[in-house]
Symmetry: D2
Subunit: 478 residues, 4 copies
């Protein structure tokens, strides 16, 4: 786990007429691919019949022309990309989840993580429920289905379910006749919608996915809001569950989202530019060039250059052909001299004092290697600037850091980290500068629990990711 | 649907020590491949943790060395092969089904078809159940899970479940600590078990799968019996549900099973030999050679030759490389002259009066083409003998004929069929001869409902195979 | 090398109008698949432009619908299947070979083996030739190209080339405007042609490939004959090279060819039947049943039964799903008990004295295992009858036995072999009976050098199969 | 052909001891992947035996762990990447070419294009040569082989061959005992070598490939030089052929090569920076931001910003997951609104006067679309600056522009192009500024024939890329 990973991206299409909604989903998922590379799936709603295809792999590999053609046309579709873990079960945990229940059929795509899924699952199991996967999404499906029994409509069932599930969830739900977008009351994960010229509505985790299919951004789904798209038009339900302090995830801006996305009114790119500008003030240094670590450190490097006046340079070339299939060198000894993924541009840094901007330090090993690359290329000094505060606390809202064990900032002082990494100086963006980075006035708050430890919700007691795996084998079969 | 198809084959392994149970399952499923070619799956139980791999395709394609290695070792495994339908959902309907419930985890492999699954499913849905597939197996999982809540053990839950489910089911069920074999009270589908020299117990749909891994046949699982394999040994429960008249499927002998299998004490090969012998008496004819239609008509042809004294000959060569990937000719006009799959041996039939033995006539088109092949190869006369009575009624117990629409015998007289097929004479095995074919004395009865229309159980009112598909889209989303 | 393998099958199509010649080739190669399973290829001639596709693998795997479509239509095509060796170079040695030369383009498909290729190759290399493969086919291409420089036509060049190349070759050659069939003066390997109703001419290694696409057999290409198909019609050239004693390969009848083929006027199936009949006379034995080892021992078993009066039975079931992808058991200890590929039918042999007919014994290990299978299944006695004489000499004409090292018959007496195999009695077809088996009157002779050691041509001095591999590395780079 | 494409990249390894030279080649080819994406290949020399693997596809797809392992270890290897054309023959044209000849075996990897290959090929064909491919590389193999017959060593043969072949060629040649690097007298295509700490020598098209495996750059292979690596050490032969004016390709700096490479002493990145700086002087404009078109316009954009003082911004996000498998939208109408591959960052350009820097305009359609993207994102003005002069003439030295038909600059005036593209202003780098861009003093000259029309060699009369294809079908078969 040298990198942080987002859990998912969701996508939905609602068209007034039958059309190639699978193709729209395909483009949309391509634009959201950075949010999840393990598996992907699309469900097409063809007049109430659902055609599903899910598999492990990248969108471009899973959705071949034959597969896309087999999905056919329809008036609605739901799509999903899921992040990459290793090992089995990948395929069975792929989304969207499609379930049949007494009132019909439902497809769900989920981004986020519940904090009370253990309790909900236990409660359901005690009533005889069976689970095919270990994902929260199946729990949510059950809860909605249960509420559906006593609700007049699917949206009422969703509203009732929101009172029972807690945590982070941005959902796209498809019933035979409706497409529903839901965002948890805290608004942890982004969700927005837009419209194409032909009248098709599009729901997506990020606005860049709307751009990708030529849809115009309308607005973010509000925290706690249910948006129902049907032939009757769009219905917004905002009072489904009690009010909560809005707390969108700050790491979406720093790391997860694409720079060309705008989330809750804030441009990700601008946010990162400001992070760079603020960094230039944190610990000023005399230097000759500013370089960013591709790709997510580049925006902040431009901001740093702008504020500090130190010229921006291209410090590295990232090999764009290195993908999941790349075979890494067997011996670690060998790795040191190898510059396959990232190669410094010697002429840009040789003999120079270099400010190197990156977006995060997780375990420190990657940073150490990159600093060494610059020194080997002839950099006279390397000053590392991190466009985020130190990562000190686990996240329960849908990222894959849920233990402190591997976080270098939890174990070491700033100076120990600097020394371990081999940088001449090291500075993080301070916690105090986060609101300025976001450009947020006092009116809005964000979740920065990973930095501050202040969680906007209750947190789960049993936090092991594979807790359901363990539970079962411990329990045995008496 | 020019051919009849069995729904499934099941397989299970219980070893006293951790071993390569996936490899045993792999060999076993290879031997059962004729029972299902659409999809296959293996679940390995590694000390309570389940490792699953399922996919569409033949056993040899799905279980590559890498996949087999990834399943690892364990003390138990369950395997399944499923027959081929076209269209979507194939992968999600693949078995074994693995579910998590309050008391742990469970894997199920199922061969057969319930007659009350619609009722059970509706009842479960009304209590808030969700379904991921359209298969009966998921219904059975739910029922067992519900009963598990009030049972002291998994076997008690299975026994209780047997009182609720009706129809044909041969099941292999794996819990964290037990492997369970179950056969419905009628004993529609075969199920037997054996033991390897190293003490490993093996459960399989047919005895040929025991042979394939070098296990010695012990006995058939009895109709209505539950067999529990655990570290405590083997437990047999025979009084789980009320008694029923035993009625194993007669078509297993005529068509579905492999000739080298022995089912309920009767050798499939001997049964077919006897069918041929009896056929020789049904409508004696003067002829020069007897040939069988490969592969399932060969045994009966040998029997026919033996009884009639007409020499046995090899009439056809079947291309053994023609598989699922074969691209058939586009134009039907072209098809007539094409002998890709089956080519007659001219020297064996030219100028001769040929008795051609086949195991069934479904729609009649295949028979017509084969008769024509013989005539084109120079046969002077072609006398078709069918080693089964006419197929007149749908089967509700796990084969894919559940409508009379396509059965030629329902629409035409014997003479019309003969003329349509182009045979000089045509005879079926008579219904009266079935017991003699089986070699059964008066003590045992078989299900021959497809020939006789006498069903040994209630039959479902709604028999459409995709009834759940339809239900959902009709119901909509009120 | 537990089995003997043929080197190749060739196929050609010449159509009066542009049509789907790739599809015809596809069907034809399917019918010839038994002659080579390593690689296959088709070259389509679209008005002088050649479209080629070759790859390792079976016909059905290599020629997907997309690949077939990409080959397009044309008036001619050449196809090839090649037998399976392990290791590298498979793809580069795939045929047909396509070469460009001064007078145009040429595609060649070759079945056989030259005995003077080493000399020819050396001679060419001394003149500066380069070779991309290690196959004889490239040598033949060169020779024809060289002769083409001083010939008025491609057929004249072929005729001149025939005076230089020696050994076994059945060739299909395609130039921009002509399709040419060539068979060496000895006629070692089969080659025939036929015609479809639409006027398309078809050339194939065996007549079963003509059947497969609905073409009517016209006649065999004669030993030493060149047949030229062009818009001007068919031209036969028979005096290309000096006369040689005809010596078609006898093993084509015993083992290589399909029973439904007719080669040089002799039905393969009838030949095998006669082999069985003659075997029944070689060493009469009292027995209860005769069984054949599938698939190639079945015909002779029927013949044996006919002559001896001992009833024919089905002794084994061969798993038809076991293909190249099958993973064999790791431990040999384990192998003994495993009956994956072949399972005896116990009910057919238990307590009986069994005559088991097979077509050959190469190393003896396979025979030993099969005899043991019968004994384990309860056979009281096993009498092995081999429908060919003992294999004592290497073949230089296109099979993969070119050393005596692995031939059991070269090292052991008949009784040692019998004992090693575990049979009660053992008899081969005698050398004297070969002509009777072929049904040949005195006028025709066959090559039975593998049995008799009498080679109809000079034989190569350096016979190592990979002699070119070795030569190069020994020679180094002075 | 909306993009220019380089023909190839070459790579070679010579190790003092047997080691994993395939793995080194794999990394090296990854770093050279931008030079060719159609096919790739590696040949490993294991003590004189060559193990080859070539296929269509990217390095990471073709060289799976299994394939790499199958290549084994050795002391030398040659690798190649080839650019992407459509249609058949891709696999057979893959390199390295491996040929066997009288003195042994030889593998060749070639980057470039001969101008007299037609003449050489005709000459060879008249002597009876056959060609398996349509590539120049096979011609070069033949010429070297012919010269080898009368040479004392492979290097002498190469030297002789250099007197006969004309045009662009950077070659890596492997014989059983030697690895040879050759660069044509003009030095059109780059070639350099370096050394790893363990003593392994590495030859590569670009220095970035040396970096990728941790080898230290030693120097460029000089134009006209032959470098021989053997157990005796390194031998340099510089007088192989008459002297020629050095004329390395200027487009290597502008477009083809990776920015982190240094070619003939000039950093590609610095060159592009200077191009941007010079562009800022060509047609000064008042603007708010400078953006580059990813990826190859970014360096020049930074240079432009530096010289003009206009702030550098990130104008676009390029989807890094879009690869060869991407399915593009069917309707062109639809394409306009789609921003899958490239999405502008609205917040960076909205309301601003934007200078957009790109490296070339080929047909103009891509530029038009990108300008429109900026305007749709709110750019007030778009000023396009191209970091190269207009492309006016075909290239015969190894790029895929060999006709003027599709070059917009050949058909339109500057203003027509500007209008067609929709830019407010448009300026190219002037031809006069090229030497300044290269930083070259008067001593060195470059080939800029594509801009100037001044070719440093004779040029071919028949320039059609597929001339050999045509020749053959025209010629027919008399």
């Amino acid at each position: 786990m040298a990198e942080l990973r987002e859990e998912c991206g969701v996508f939905g299409v609602f068209s007034p007429v039958e059309t190639d909604v699978a193709m729209d989903s395909y483009y949309g998922l391509f634009a959201l691919q950075h949010r999840g590379q393990e598996s992907c799936g699309i469900v097409v709603n063809d007049d109430g019949l659902f055609h599903t295809y899910k598999d492990e792999g990248l969108v471009g590999k899973v959705f071949t022309p034959d597969v896309l053609a087999s999905l056919g046309h329809g008036t609605m579709a739901v799509g999903h990309v899921r992040y990459g873990t290793t090992g089995g079960g990948g395929r069975s945990n792929a989304q969207p989840v499609v379930v049949n229940h007494i009132k019909g059929r439902m497809a769900l795509a989920h981004n986020g993580n519940l904090v009370n899924s253990y309790e909900l699952r236990s409660e359901l199991e005690l009533r005889g429920a069976i689970f095919h996967t270990t994902s929260d999404t199946e729990v949510i499906s059950y809860i909605i289905t249960q509420e559906r029994l006593q609700s007049a409509s699917i949206q009422e069932a969703v509203a009732r379910a929101m009172r029972r599930i807690r945590g982070a969830y941005s959902l796209v739900i498809m019933s035979p006749a409706k497409l529903i977008a839901v965002r948890d009351p805290n608004g942890f994960r982004p969700l927005c919608y837009g419209k194409k010229e032909d009248g098709t509505y599009v729901i997506a985790s990020e606005s860049c996915a709307l751009d990708s299919i030529g849809a115009e951004f309308i607005r973010d789904v509000e925290p706690g809001e249910i948006l129902v798209f049907s032939k009757e038009g769009i219905q917004s339900i905002k009072d489904a569950c009690g009010s909560a302090a809005h707390s969108p995830c700050v790491f979406e801006y720093i790391y997860f989202s694409r720079p060309d996305s705008v989330i809750d009114g804030i441009s990700v790119h601008e946010c990162r530019l400001r992070a760079g500008e603020l960094l230039a003030e944190e610990l000023p240094v005399e230097a000759d060039v500013v370089v960013g670590v591709p790709d997510s450190g580049l925006d902040a490097a431009i901001g740093y250059s702008k504020r500090s006046g130190i010229p921006y340079e291209m410090g590295f070339i990232k090999n764009k052909y290195i993908g999941r299939t790349f075979i890494s060198p067997g011996q670690s000894a060998r790795q040191d001299g190898v510059k396959i993924k990232l190669n410094p541009i010697s002429s840009a840094v040789r003999g120079k004092r270099v400010v190197m901007v990156d977006d995060s330090i997780v375990r420190g090993t990657t940073s150490r290697r990159i600093v060494k690359l610059l020194r080997d290329a002839g950099a006279a000094e390397v000053h590392l600037r991190v466009s985020a505060p130190p990562f000190l606390n686990p996240c329960y809202y849908g990222t894959d850091i849920d233990s402190r064990d591997c976080l270098i900032a939890c174990r070491s002082t700033l100076d120990e980290i600097r020394e371990s990494i081999g940088a001449d100086t090291l500075a993080y963006l301070s916690l105090e500068n986060l609101p300025r980075m976001l450009g947020a006035d006092g009116g809005c708050s964000f979740c920065s629990a990973c930095f501050s430890g202040k969680y906007p919700t209750e947190i789960p007691t049993d936090t092991h990711k594979n807790r359901f795996e363990q539970k079962i084998s411990e329990k045995g079969d008496l």
